[in-house]
Symmetry: C2
Subunit: 229 residues, 2 copies
């Protein structure tokens, strides 16, 4: 298994470094800020609904998240939110964009060992500038042959990426924490995928049904990929 | 001249389709919205200053522009801006992201004639999702071999792009409307560039000094590239 692999693509957020917990933290601060207007539960629900309504227009990433928070705040408060509270929401976003990078266990070791043997691609979604900045801050840029920021991670996005790389699906391997975005699209393409679950998952990335458990591997820690590669 | 060219990269905004006039229009609406608080001239100045302050964090594109408008509105109004005005600013952004594409003269004809003879790349900056959406709406996607959304268009970004394409700088040609972003970085790399000026240019893209007039061509309309290629 994995003998024909030529290109390995790795997800970044919550695969190489911490990301989702920062969103959860800001959602919590957002709910605290709006606590004069609503309960935390209702605020979380409304924010998620707003994010889903705006997803097609804004896409993934911090800037769209901040715009959705501002809009949700206006609605939740019945137009009572004041400009200082809006400024606070903008500042949440600026903090997120300026955060230092916290690498996950084994990230650097794995890349160091794989990079002489495979073509390594970073395959991520979100804001292009933000992802480039995180990669630079992470110190991991030197291990990658190519950075591909995708507007989404669906079957068709991977199909085009694999074609562009001029390899067969069987020669491509994706490693990531999201079943929905990093694993199942590759299974559908008869390509390869290794799942490294992370303790925090955005609801939008959750998959309820999964009948494909035989067609990909699940490991507990990123370092475990070295057993197979 | 241009005999060795293998890859032609084209800018998108204001080279293939209308973009900058939409920003000018929204800036004007933004000033009208805030007219109870300040003069249009002062509002324009403050918004531009805010965009420059945020550029490193937000990058180019509509979402960062909207976030800067919200922040500028709070400051310009001394915290008096209300939530309906903030919502109006968010709606300006949503309208921009939903606008139909208005192709510039000759765009489709030029791509149709060049695509069988050269590898064509779309090289643009801004929001990844927004640029992909515009390209799909434009009907021009089929002419391009590759889409490269760059976080910025400086010498180093082009250097990496040319290396990634595995051609020599002399085999690469960039066509675009911005002297600063599409032309001068290529001149610095001893590569090739054709300038197609557009009537509206963002101040940030303006170049005061230009001593390189012999090292690139300037044409009046995109169709004129066909004379040389």
């Amino acid at each position: 298994m994995y003998k024909n692999i030529k290109v390995i693509a790795l997800d970044a957020d919550d695969t190489l470094w911490v990301n989702e917990p920062y969103f959860r933290e800001v959602e919590h601060q957002f709910a605290k800020l709006l606590s004069p207007y609503e309960t935390e539960n209702k605020i979380n629900q409304e924010l998620y609904k707003k994010e889903m309504d705006n997803l097609e227009l804004y896409g993934y990433g911090v800037k769209g998240f901040v715009l959705s928070m501002v809009e949700a705040a206006i609605e939740i408060s019945n137009n009572k939110v004041n400009s200082k509270e809006i400024q606070q929401i903008l500042d949440f976003g600026k903090e997120m964009l300026s955060k230092p990078i916290e690498l996950l266990d084994g990230a650097e070791e794995v890349l160091k060992k794989l990079s002489p043997k495979y073509k390594l691609i970073l395959a991520t979604k979100g804001d292009l500038l933000d992802q480039e900045r995180k990669l630079k801050k992470s110190g991991l840029l030197k291990y990658f042959d190519h950075i591909e920021v995708l507007s989404d991670k669906k079957e068709d996005n991977y199909k085009r990426l694999i074609e562009f790389l001029e390899v067969a699906p069987s020669e491509f391997l994706m490693i990531g924490n999201s079943l929905k975005s990093d694993i199942l699209p590759l299974v559908a393409l008869n390509s390869n995928a290794i799942h490294v679950p992370y303790h925090t998952t955005w609801i939008h990335e959750e998959v309820t049904q999964n009948d494909n458990v035989d067609s990909y591997k699940t490991i507990q820690s990123l370092s475990d990929v070295l057993v197979f590669l």
